[in-house]
C-alpha cells in the first residue's frame, strides 16, 4: 500500500514546512500565509458543499460572520481562551446551519442558492440593527491581538483540520452518496440514499469550517463589524478560488488559493483594479478551463 502512503507523506512534509515558515520569513509573508490558509479553509469547505454535493451555497459570509462574532463575544464576555473561542466560532456556525437547513433544504438547485444568499443578507442586516452585539459599529476584542506568527499557526491548524476532515469524508463511502446527490437527487433517493441527511451533514460540516475561518478573522482584526464580517466578499472570493482551481476536485481549492493569493499580491498597489482583474481572470478560467485549472494539470478527467 505504498501508493496510499505517498500522498500522506507529502502532506506531512508540506505541513512541517509550512509550520517552519515563521522561523524563516518575516511578518509580511506570515500575513500572506495567514490569508492564504483562511481562503484554503473556506475553499475546501465550499468545495465539499458545492463541488461534491452539488449544493451551491452563497451563504459563506453568514457562517464566517457568525464565527467572527462568536469568537469575539466569547472572548469578551466569558474570557474564554483562544482554542475555546475558535471552537465556539465553529460550533455556533454549525448550529446555525443545522437550524437553517430545515428550511433551506426544502429548496433545490437555484432556489437553494438564492435562499442561502437571502439568509446571509438577512443575518447581516440583523446584526447591523442588533444593539446587543454592537450594532453597526461592531465589537472590539478586549484581549490583545495575538502575534502574526501565532495567528499563522492557528490558521495552519485550522486548514490542516479542514484537509483532514475533507479527506476522511471523500475517502469514505459517503463520498459516493454526496456525488450521487449532486448528479441526480431524485435517483439517489430511489437508490436508497437518505439525501436529506447527506446534505445536512455536509452543510453543517462546511459551516463549522467556515465559522473557524471567521473566528480567526476576529482574532486577527481585533475589531469586527457586520459589513466586513458578514460581507459578500467572503462568498465571492471563495467561489472564485474554487472555480479557478477546479470545482469538485481534491486539489482545486489549493491550486485556486495559490493563484488567487498571487493575483491579489500582484495587484496590491492597485486596489481599485483588483476586483476587475480578478473578474477577468475568473471569466478566462471559465472559458478556457471550465473544469478548473486543476483539470489542465491533472489531464485525466477529474475524479467525480
Amino acid at each position: 500500500m505504498n501508493a496510499a502512503r505517498k500522498p500522506l507523506l507529502i502532506a506531512a512534509l508540506l505541513g512541517a514546512l509550512l509550520y517552519c515558515l515563521p522561523f524563516a520569513l518575516g511578518p509580511y509573508w506570515q500575513q500572506l500565509g495567514l490569508r492564504a490558509l483562511q481562503w484554503l479553509t473556506l475553499a475546501i469547505a465550499w468545495n465539499l458543499l458545492a463541488g461534491y454535493c452539488g449544493q451551491v451555497s452563497l451563504g459563506t459570509g453568514a457562517f464566517v460572520g457568525l464565527g467572527a462574532y462568536a469568537c469575539a463575544l466569547s472572548g469578551n464576555q466569558l474570557d474564554a481562551p483562544i482554542p475555546v473561542q475558535l471552537a465556539l466560532a465553529g460550533l455556533v456556525a454549525a448550529g446555525f446551519a443545522a437550524l437553517a437547513s430545515v428550511a433551506l433544504f426544502r429548496l433545490r438547485g437555484l432556489y437553494f442558492t438564492v435562499g442561502t444568499l437571502a439568509l446571509a443578507e438577512a443575518l447581516r442586516i440583523l446584526m447591523v440593527n442588533l444593539r446587543t452585539f454592537g450594532g453597526a459599529s461592531g465589537v472590539v476584542l478586549r484581549a490583545a491581538t495575538p502575534a502574526f506568527h501565532q495567528l499563522y499557526w492557528l490558521a495552519l491548524a485550522i486548514a490542516a483540520l479542514a484537509v483532514l476532515l475533507a479527506e476522511l469524508l471523500l475517502r469514505s463511502p459517503l463520498s459516493l452518496s454526496l456525488r450521487a446527490v449532486r448528479d441526480d437527487e431524485d435517483v439517489a433517493l430511489q437508490m436508497g440514499v437518505r439525501s436529506f441527511r447527506v446534505k445536512f451533514g455536509v452543510f453543517v460540516l462546511a459551516a463549522f469550517l467556515m465559522g473557524l475561518a471567521g473566528g480567526l478573522q476576529a482574532l486577527k482584526l481585533g475589531v469586527i463589524e457586520p459589513y466586513g464580517a458578514y460581507g459578500m466578499s467572503w462568498t465571492i472570493d471563495t467561489v472564485a478560488v474554487v472555480i479557478i482551481g477546479g470545482l469538485g476536485t481534491r486539489m482545486g481549492p489549493l491550486l485556486g488559493t495559490l493563484i488567487y493569493v498571487a493575483l491579489s499580491e500582484a495587484l496590491r498597489n492597485l486596489p481599485e483594479l483588483h476586483g476587475a482583474v480578478a473578474g477577468v481572470f475568473l471569466l478566462l478560467a471559465i472559458r478556457f478551463a471550465p473544469r478548473g485549472l486543476w483539470s489542465l494539470v491533472a489531464r485525466r478527467p477529474a475524479h467525480g
Binding site: D183, D184, D186, V187, Q190, M191, G192, V193
Partner: protein, 517 residues
C-alpha cells in the same frame, strides 16, 4: 397465509398531472414469483405506474402494499430498503460517477439482511457483487468510464445493472429491451428468465412483444390510465380489443395517400446526387467509430442505414449534420462541401435531423418547439409551415400549448419529426424514430414517413428494425464496426447471406450483448 402469495397489491390507485389522469382507480395484484408484463399505448400510464410503486411520485389516492407492508406513504429511499428496485425508461445514470461507482452506490444501499451470507456488507462483498453484475450485464469493459459518456443503449444496460445491485425483491423494468437487435433480444430474454428465478418477482414494461411473450406469465394492458385487461400472456395478446388499442395490424407499411410505396423502376436518367460521403472517418478519443465510409443519396431517394448497435449508424448521421467532426474524408451536399461546417449552417443548407432520443425542449410548448426550428430567413412562412405540420400530425394541433415533453412517447416522436421538417429540408435524417414506441404508434409513424417520402423529400433512415427500414427504402447500406459492409436494393440486401451473419449475429460476434448467467 394467503397474503404471502401476493408480492404487490395495488388498490384504487390514482394519480393526476395537471388535471389529466395518468393512472385512475387502478387495481392490480402481482403474484410472488411471477413476471408480469405491462403493455399499452404510449401515454397509457405505464411509467407513471412504476413511478407510483417505486415512490418516484406520490399517489393522489389508493394504496400500495408490498409483501404485506403498506408502502403508500413511504419515501422512495424507504421503499428501496424494503426491496423495490427500478430502472428509468429514459436512463438517469449518475453522470459524473463511473459505471462501477453507479453500481457501488446502489449496492451500499441495498436491502439489508437478505440472503444468508450478506448480513454485513463488507467492502469485499460489495466489490464482488458489483463485478458480478457488471459481467452479467456486459458492462465489464466500461466499468471505469464515467456514466455520462455512455451511448443510449449502454445507459439502459446500466439502469438494469444498478437496479440489480439493490438486491430487490420486486424488480420494476421500464423498457429495457428497446432498440436491441435479435441476438441481443434473445440474450435479454434469457437474462430476465434467470432474474425471475433469483429475484422472484418482476414487473416488466415492454413494447418488444418477443420479450413479453417469452418472459411474462401474465400480462396487464393499460389504456388511458385504466386497466383494460389482465391475464395469461397468450390470451391477452390474442384479445381483439388489445389488438385494436395497442398491437395494430402488424408489421405492414401502408403506402401513403396514393404514393407509390415500392420504388418504381429507376428512370432512365436518375436524379442528381444530393448527398455524397467519401472516405469519412470519425474518431472518438482513440477509437475509430467510422472507417472509410462512402455513401451516396440522390434527390428524392429514401436510403436506409442499417446495422447492429455500436456499428456507427448514429455517428454517421451526426457527422452528416455537422454534429461531430470528420477526422478524414469529405461530405458534399448538392455539390458543395459541408464537412467542417457548423451544424446550424448545415441545417440552413437544407438538411434536417430528427435526432435519436427526440431531444424535445421540455420548457417549450409544442408550438414553440416547432417555431424554433424555422430558420430566421423563413420567418415569414412560419405560420404556413406550422399549418402544414399540424395537417400532417393533427394530434399536435390539439396539444399545441402543452409542454413538449408532457405528451406520450409517440406524440413526442411526431413532434420531433415535424420539427425536423420545419426548415423545409431537401434531406431529412431520421435516427431511430421508432425506438420505445408501441407497435401501433410505430405503424402510424411509418405511415407518416411514407407520406413525407411521397412529397419528394430525400430521406436517410437510421433503423434498428431491419424489416421496417427495408420496406420503406429504395436502397440500403449495412454498417458493421464502423465500416459499410453491404449496400444495394432492399431485395438484394434481404437475399444476402452476409446480412444474417452481420445483423442477426450468427457469427458469434463480440457485440454488446448480455451473456446470460
Amino acid at each position: 397465509m394467503v397474503e404471502a402469495a401476493i408480492a404487490l397489491r395495488v388498490r384504487a390507485l390514482s394519480r393526476r398531472f395537471g388535471g389529466v389522469a395518468a393512472i385512475e382507480a387502478l387495481d392490480l395484484d402481482v403474484q410472488a414469483g411471477e413476471t408480469l408484463g405491462v403493455i399499452g399505448p404510449n401515454g397509457a400510464g405505464k411509467s407513471t405506474l412504476i413511478n407510483l410503486i417505486s415512490g418516484g411520485c406520490a399517489a393522489d389516492s389508493g394504496s400500495i402494499v408490498l409483501f404485506g407492508t403498506d408502502i403508500t406513504g413511504l419515501r422512495a429511499d424507504a421503499r428501496t430498503r424494503l426491496g423495490v428496485g427500478r430502472t428509468y425508461q429514459i436512463p438517469r445514470p449518475f453522470a459524473r460517477l463511473t459505471v462501477y461507482e453507479n453500481l457501488e452506490l446502489a449496492a451500499r444501499h441495498a436491502r439489508r439482511g437478505v440472503a444468508p451470507a450478506s448480513a454485513a456488507p463488507v467492502q469485499e462483498t460489495i466489490a464482488e457483487r458489483c463485478r458480478r453484475i457488471l459481467t452479467r450485464t456486459g458492462l465489464d469493459d466500461v466499468a471505469g468510464t464515467t456514466a455520462g459518456s455512455l451511448p443510449l443503449l449502454r445507459r439502459k444496460r446500466l439502469e438494469l445493472a444498478r437496479a440489480l445491485a439493490l438486491q430487490p425483491r420486486l424488480l420494476l423494468l421500464d423498457e429495457i429491451g428497446a432498440g436491441l437487435i435479435e441476438r441481443e433480444t434473445r440474450a435479454l430474454i434469457e437474462l430476465i428468465i434467470d432474474l425471475q428465478r433469483e429475484i422472484g418477482t418482476i414487473v416488466l414494461i415492454e413494447h418488444v412483444m418477443d420479450v413479453i411473450n417469452a418472459c411474462c406469465q401474465r400480462t396487464a394492458v393499460l389504456a388511458s390510465g385504466r386497466l383494460l385487461t389482465v391475464g395469461a400472456t397468450r390470451e391477452v395478446l390474442a384479445d381483439a380489443q388489445v389488438a385494436a388499442v395497442y398491437l395494430g395490424t402488424g408489421e405492414r407499411v401502408p403506402a401513403g395517400a396514393g404514393a407509390p410505396a415500392p420504388p418504381s423502376a429507376p428512370p432512365s436518367a436518375p436524379p442528381a446526387v444530393l448527398l455524397s460521403v467519401r472516405g469519412a472517418e470519425v474518431h472518438y478519443g482513440g477509437v475509430r467509430a467510422l472507417r472509410q465510409v462512402s455513401l451516396e443519396l440522390r434527390a428524392g431517394e429514401c436510403v436506409a442505414l442499417l446495422g447492429a448497435n455500436g456499428a456507427g449508424k448514429t455517428t454517421l448521421a451526426r457527422a452528416i449534420s455537422g454534429a461531430v467532426p470528420l477526422a478524414a474524408g469529405t461530405i458534399e451536399f448538392d455539390g458543395a462541401r459541408i464537412s467542417g461546417l457548423a451544424a446550424a449552417r448545415v441545417t440552413a443548407l437544407g438538411i434536417g435531423h430528427c435526432m435519436e432520443g427526440r431531444k424535445i425542449f421540455s420548457s417549450l410548448s409544442v408550438e414553440e418547439n416547432l417555431l424554433l426550428a424555422v430558420p430566421p430567413a423563413a420567418q415569414r412562412k412560419a405560420a404556413e409551415r406550422l399549418q402544414r405540420a399540424y395537417a400532417m400530425f393533427p394530434a399536435l394541433r390539439q396539444r399545441r400549448a402543452h409542454a413538449g415533453t408532457a405528451m406520450s412517447g409517440g406524440q413526442q416522436q411526431m413532434l420531433a419529426i415535424a420539427r425536423a421538417l420545419m426548415s423545409e429540408p431537401r434531406l431529412v435524417i431520421f435516427d431511430e424514430v421508432s425506438l420505445g414506441l408501441a407497435p401501433i404508434a410505430v405503424e402510424s409513424l411509418y405511415e407518416s414517413l411514407a407520406r413525407i417520402r411521397a412529397s419528394g423529400v430525400a430521406m436517410l433512415i437510421v433503423e434498428q428494425n431491419i424489416h421496417r427500414g427495408l420496406q420503406l427504402a429504395d436502397r440500403a447500406y449495412v454498417l458493421a464496426h464502423g465500416e459499410i459492409r453491404l449496400s444495394g436494393t432492399p431485395q438484394e440486401i434481404r437475399d444476402s447471406r452476409e446480412l444474417r451473419a452481420l445483423y442477426v449475429g450468427e457469427d458469434a460476434a463480440t457485440g454488446a450483448t448480455a451473456p446470460a448467467g
